[in-house]
């Protein structure tokens, strides 16, 4: 390809990558702990032990990966059944909300900790506690403290990957050192204690590390406070964790949790929850946040227990005024954005607690911390709540079978009519792929595609306004996306709007012809 053409096409990459790599707004690698010179790490005295552990782990990973079949990456074109997004189990409620024990899940447990690692179950924390201890042993706390500590603690450290379920092991680690008198060692333990609080979402511990002395003076006093905090919030202490058998993943979620929180308790906790911490470094380091930060944050909310989901949803639904003030206003009060974003986060967390981590729930919160599109979190919360009441704890989206999609045809059609007016808003904004992920339409899943095509084709031959043509073009794009084909974004780029806006019908027929490859049929 002509290099100048490549340069031109490169211009259209996502905002988040442009901003992330900008020297002014972006991430400077030298300020990150893993970018520090290795010699400094080795000088910590613990480096050799950690390196040995890392080498052993590397060998282990190599051995595991050597026996692993390289996963096929689905081709973008032509359409192929591997493009289909995964769908949920269909049999029982309990299966729908628990992760199936797949080979992939098993392999995940043996992979090295990276920024994308999320440990969000007590079982996994237990299985990986030795890694955590190695990380704690190797913590380069001097570097942390010498640099701006308040900045440092918001940066990535492998400790964060362990989230809330790593905290008991971290406390255990500190307690093993009780009686320690070496000032340097006490400082190191103080840093670990701080991380423990951070993993619980509690970040108002800054006074400790602003004055170095506080590390040595307060560490065990603060440890007791943290223990009490664990107890108050229903999290296990280190001793309890070692005694309690971890729950089976085959159990229904209602059996896995023991929450006795009242509605008032839940409201109080949500009001006190420090959402801001989880957004602190989302912008502009977009892609680094999605799994790690969200899942750690979700783990904190999940600790409330699945039985509290109705209260959480009710809490969100009671925020209708915020939604109206922000999402529906052309010039929203900027100060309300944060509260709007928090509600979207809570909704994603509620889905997460039900075992749904699909793209739609994640992308309700955009990579830069702002809500994409104007999807009504209130509406979605009501859907989820209705569904819970009717069917027990099970996610409603995506439709998991052709039969279920067929039974909900009216709802699909209604949704298409209701949300089409939003498309113009989408297209008037930055036209990048992830804008479309937020659409209420994509959450229906692949089995809804025949009905969407039917809806599009029902307009053929009718006089359409430009806006109506545009909406049908977007619906077509979303249909492709639900089948896992994402290369149609170029249709909606400003330079090439013609294909999607003037005549979507030939494309709709072309897509309909492909449906049989998925075992689907066009309706008309």
């Amino acid at each position: 390809m002509n290099p100048m053409l490549i340069a031109e096409k490169l211009t259209d990459i996502d905002d988040r990558y442009i901003l992330e790599s900008d020297p002014v707004t972006g991430v400077i690698l030298k300020n990150r702990p893993h970018a520090r010179p290795l010699s400094r790490f080795l000088n910590s005295g613990l480096g050799a032990a950690v390196i040995s552990g890392a080498v052993a782990l590397g060998v282990l990973i190599f051995v595991v990966l050597a026996g692993r079949v390289s996963p096929e990456t689905p081709p973008v074109t032509p359409l192929d059944s591997t493009d289909l997004p995964p769908v949920m189990e269909t049999d029982t409620d309990s299966e729908a909300v628990t992760e199936p024990e797949t080979e992939e899940n098993t392999q995940e447990e043996t992979e090295a900790i990276t920024e994308d690692t999320v440990i969000d179950t007590p079982e996994e924390a237990e299985a990986r506690k030795d890694e955590l201890i190695a990380i704690l042993d190797g913590l380069d706390y001097k570097w942390n403290i010498l640099n701006d500590p308040s900045y440092y603690f918001d940066q990535y450290t492998p400790v964060k990957a362990f989230g809330v379920y790593g905290v008991p092991y971290m406390l255990d680690y500190i307690m093993e050192h009780e009686g320690e008198t070496d000032a340097e060692e006490l400082k190191r333990l103080g840093v670990i204690l701080h991380f423990a609080y951070h993993n619980l979402g509690i970040t108002d511990t800054s006074e400790w590390y602003r004055k170095e002395n506080h590390f040595s003076q307060d560490v065990f006093v603060n440890l007791q406070a943290l223990m009490q905090h664990l107890q108050k919030n229903g999290l296990p202490s280190p001793e309890e964790l070692s005694k309690t058998k971890t729950p089976s993943t085959e159990d229904a979620p209602t059996e896995n949790t023991t929450s006795n929180l009242s509605k008032e308790d839940v409201y109080k906790k949500l009001n006190e929850f420090n959402f801001e911490y989880f957004y602190s470094d989302w912008y502009p380091t977009a892609s680094s946040i999605s799994d790690k930060e969200l899942h750690n944050a979700f783990a904190v909310i999940s600790s409330l227990g699945v039985e509290t989901i109705p209260y959480i949803l009710e809490y969100i639904i009671n925020s209708q005024d915020i939604y109206n003030a922000v999402a529906l206003s052309p010039n929203p009060d900027y100060a309300l954005w944060g509260e709007y974003r928090d509600r979207c986060f809570l909704l994603s967390a509620a889905y997460h607690m039900l075992g749904v981590d699909g793209h739609y729930s994640i992308h309700w919160i955009s990579p830069d911390g702002y809500v994409q599109g104007r999807d009504s979190f209130v509406l979605l919360s009501q859907y989820l709540l209705d569904h819970i009441e009717k069917n027990g704890l099970r996610p409603i989206y995506p439709f998991i079978s052709a039969e279920e999609a067929a039974a909900n045809q009216d709802r699909i059609t209604r949704q298409l009519e209701d949300t089409s007016s939003d498309f113009k808003w989408y297209l008037s904004h930055d036209l990048t792929d992830y804008q479309f992920d937020a659409s209420l339409v994509t959450v229906f899943g692949p089995y809804a595609v025949p009905y969407i095509l039917d809806y599009i084709l029902s307009h053929e031959g009718q006089p359409l306004t430009p806006d109506e043509e545009l909406n049908l073009g977007v619906l077509l794009h979303l249909s492709y996306r639900m089948l896992g084909v994402e290369t149609t974004a170029a249709w909606h780029m400003p330079a090439e709007p013609v294909e999607s806006t003037t005549d979507p019908f030939p494309y709709a027929r072309e897509l309909a012809a492909h449906l049989s490859e998925y075992g689907l049929e066009a309706v008309s």
Partner: protein, 187 residues
């Protein structure tokens, strides 16, 4: 300035555009003039040409906001100035070549086994590819090929040696080539 402040400042400037208040241009220049000029200079290596591109960028922004309401004004202006600068560079290329840019274009050309007629798929593929990289790989890649920074400048910014940056970019390009080849692209 953190992201919230930048977002707020962007919002105020965009409101000025919507109000058709020419102060919008002044504010844009104050906040993003340096950013746009640097981007353009990385491509054109000529201050006068770059300044003209930046001015043209403001005009394009004035004509396109409204109806557009950019999510990020920085990225929006960056795209415009980059496109304008590339267009001007193409026009001037025969007479005046930017060696650094030519090298970076050649590097990219070597790892993108696609034909011109397949170009429309490239932005989406690049986004997929970038999402698959580590943050460090992605930042180095975009610094070099989107922002057009020289290797030595990237090394200085990120506290790495130029050799390390060169090696990491080389590995990332190999990954890109493999990524596209796996998806059936061949020259």
């Amino acid at each position: 300035m953190n992201h919230v402040d930048e977002k707020q400042a962007d919002g105020r400037i965009i409101d000025l555009y919507f109000a058709r208040d020419e102060q919008a241009i002044t504010e844009t220049d104050r906040r993003y003039g340096g950013f746009c000029l640097r981007l353009s200079l990385n491509i054109l290596e000529d201050r006068q040409d770059a300044e003209e591109c930046v001015n043209d960028t403001y005009l394009k922004a004035w004509n396109s906001i409204p109806p557009n309401r950019p999510h990020s004004l920085r990225a929006y202006l960056g795209r415009i100035v980059r496109n304008l600068s590339l267009n001007r560079y193409k026009a001037n290329r025969a007479a005046r070549r930017n060696r650094e840019l030519e090298v970076s274009l050649e590097e990219l050309g070597d790892c993108i086994p696609m034909r011109d007629e397949e170009a429309s798929a490239l932005p989406a593929l690049l986004n997929q590819f970038l999402a698959s990289l580590t943050q460090e790989e992605r930042i180095l890649f975009c610094s070099r090929y989107w922002h057009g920074n020289a290797v030595r400048d990237i090394a200085k910014t990120h506290g790495l040696t130029p050799k390390a940056v060169t090696m990491r970019l080389s590995r990332t390009r190999e990954k890109l080539k493999a990524f596209l080849t796996e998806r059936g692209y061949r020259v």
